[in-house]
Symmetry: C2
Subunit: 122 residues, 2 copies
């Protein structure tokens, strides 16, 4: 029950140096999929809540209190994050427990590092 | 002519540690705005083309050849990137020349670094 429906291709993500050479259409589609998933305020807050929750994992029962949204709406947003490979879920008894997939976040984070990362301009 | 219509709040972005503590609604809205802008394959390729172009800047005339899209469509995508603070433009004679705003990219990149960034899990 812990499998991704359509996991992100971490290898493709980590080899996408956005700032150093032009992305191919395939690379940009793969990366954009992750950014689109987190490019929504509720989903970004969910990601943050999961990542910072005790033990690094959280179930819907831990998350609903932070939002004025229904359980099904939150579950939908979690599904989008999961399908983009940003989080993964594992069912235990009644609940699915979600945790961050650090490999995906590390890959997209490093893809955005400016080419002049060695210098400080801000 | 080089001003952003609505620049990103770099200070807010860089103080949004997605992975270490729960984001506020305001922090998530600010960050999500940037991720949404780059969460589209054409825009991500445009960003990559600009960042890796000779001199670190490019005009629409340099970019249209990479896409089977009209000039106005590309200009629209550039406007979205600009309004999110990802790129900035400067008009010189006929053309607007775009370059990446590294401070925005650095801020959103660092916001995604997993809390366990010191360890290697993948």
């Amino acid at each position: 029950m812990s499998k991704q429906e359509a996991p992100a291709d971490d290898a493709a993500l980590c080899c996408s140096p956005v700032m150093r050479e032009p992305l191919t259409a395939e690379q940009s589609a793969e990366l954009a999929r992750v950014f689109k998933a987190i490019g929504e305020p509720v989903r970004l807050r969910l990601l943050s809540l999961i990542a910072s929750h005790a033990g690094g994992e959280a179930c819907v029962c831990d998350l609903t209190g932070a939002f004025e949204l229904s359980g099904p709406t939150i579950s939908h947003h979690l599904k989008v994050l999961r399908e983009a490979g940003v989080i993964e879920g594992e069912r235990r008894a009644t609940w699915i427990y979600y945790r961050v997939r650090p490999e995906t976040l590390r890959a997209v984070s490093s893809a955005l590092v400016p080419a002049d990362a060695g210098t400080v301009t801000a």
